[in-house]
Symmetry: C2
Subunit: 273 residues, 2 copies
């Protein structure tokens, strides 16, 4: 009997921490189907009581005990939530005591800190990195000297989302260089990229997938033909090999994984936002 299990990510802030750990936990249980809901900004007991009503309603509707992944730091709020009768998984509780003992310090119960506003300078770095990614998208303007990373690939192989992710989450300035037909006629790096060899990272992709993606964008164009995709990908891969550019296939790789691999490979260390 495949019942559906309701899961609530409840937080006094954005709910990102609760949802991230909760999602990671749920992916380890493959036989249960889950319906999930994130309830952010639960920062007082009154809000918590409203949430309890929603949880009870879900319990009735689905005829099964809900799961609450809770990242609220206020213990009154957590106690109020526990009244729902759901299985309570408190994201922080198991780690606080060992940390307090190790650090010799009592934790501060400030709400919604983790994904809140940091200092203006850090915020600025992130926004500037984002603007950089957007203005250096698809070789529109060239200022590779300022880039931390230059992603090199044929059109539609995953450069833009990766650049934006790198900017948003790591404040990394990621430019991108789309390989043109002219570039692909040669086995060597395009001249404009040669001064920046240590910043280059190549993305590749399965030609059939590339065909599918381009087909959605420009149906039945020469650009989208499987034959064109095969030729371009083969030429790009040959160039990456000849020039020893680190390369990753995006076909079965998430944006998060690509970003993480790029930073690790190029030895760029940044904290996540």
């Amino acid at each position: 009997m495949a019942s559906v299990r309701p899961v609530f990510y409840v937080s006094d802030g954005t709910g990102i921490t609760a949802e991230t750990i909760g999602h990671s936990l749920l992916t380890q249980f493959t036989e249960t189907r889950f319906v999930t809901e994130r309830i952010p900004f639960v920062d007082n007991v009154e809000r918590a009581r409203e949430v309890v009503e929603r949880i009870r309603l879900a319990a009735e509707q689905h005829g099964v005990r809900p799961v609450v992944v809770n990242s609220c730091v206020d213990s009154d709020v957590s106690s109020a939530l526990a009244e729902s009768g759901a299985l309570m998984l408190d994201v922080f509780a198991p780690f606080i005591e060992p940390l307090e003992r190790e650090l010799g310090e009592v934790r501060q119960r400030r709400m919604g800190q983790a994904h809140g506003m940091v200092d203006f300078e850090t915020y600025h770095r992130r926004i500037n990195a984002m603007n950089y990614a957007l203005t250096h998208d698809d070789g529109q303007s060239i200022d590779y000297g300022e880039a931390d990373v230059i992603l090199v690939a044929v059109s539609r192989a995953g450069k833009t989302p990766t650049c934006v992710y790198l900017a948003l989450h790591y404040g990394v300035r990621a430019a991108n260089y789309p390989l043109t037909d002219e570039d692909l006629d040669h086995d060597r790096l395009p001249p404009r990229l040669r001064p920046w060899r240590s910043k280059l990272f190549g993305l590749t992709i399965d030609p059939a997938r590339l065909h599918q993606i381009r087909q959605e964008r420009r149906p039945n164009s020469r650009y989208a033909q499987l034959e064109t995709c095969r030729r371009e990908v083969a030429a790009a891969e040959a160039m990456f090999r000849a020039e020893r550019i680190p390369t990753l296939s995006t076909t079965h790789t998430s944006i998060e994984e690509i970003a993480s691999k790029v930073l690790t490979t190029l030895g760029i260390r940044r904290e996540m936002f």
Copy 2:
């Protein structure tokens, strides 16, 4: 004595889950200074032993016991990491047993699942939302009918990063409408927005901050003048009030918080990626 405590986020996948929960925990300890490092893709015992060396080196350098926030699901890998002598915080361990009991199912120990590639359809929705955000940025082209959300604000108030974040993390199609001088001469919604009232969300910002941001972009322009910023922000806020558009100030709000508030306010429910 303010010692510096080394913290390692170790994972068999991207390390995003470990870093997210770890970062949330550390923000609750305000007297200790931390240096953090994310070590992704630790998916076998050999890699784990290399990591142990790095942890031991950090212990020596800083003269203090490091903390490891570990999200590896393989128990051999975790045991190998524990040899480092660091304080081990296992991100999943405390929650697995209660979940297994509640769900009547044994968890699957598959590595790097949480932020890995999901199905092609979900991936596509995310990339399409991203492309939508980029092509509907700053009113470049108009297809508001397809938007889930339309952010309305004066130039540089935070529309673009929020749109991109909504696309990347929630697969939400977010368009954005920059209020022009002409729009601001009236107290009413610009005609192009009127059919889409239920999708509108207004962003506002402290004029002094806006001045600072615009000043970086176009120094000493009329556009950047404090007086211009004051006038534009006042006119935009008056319009939002008159038209009862939900509004949020971005001045002390992170991109994550803005995105979360927009979805909650407009009643859009989406799982995070």
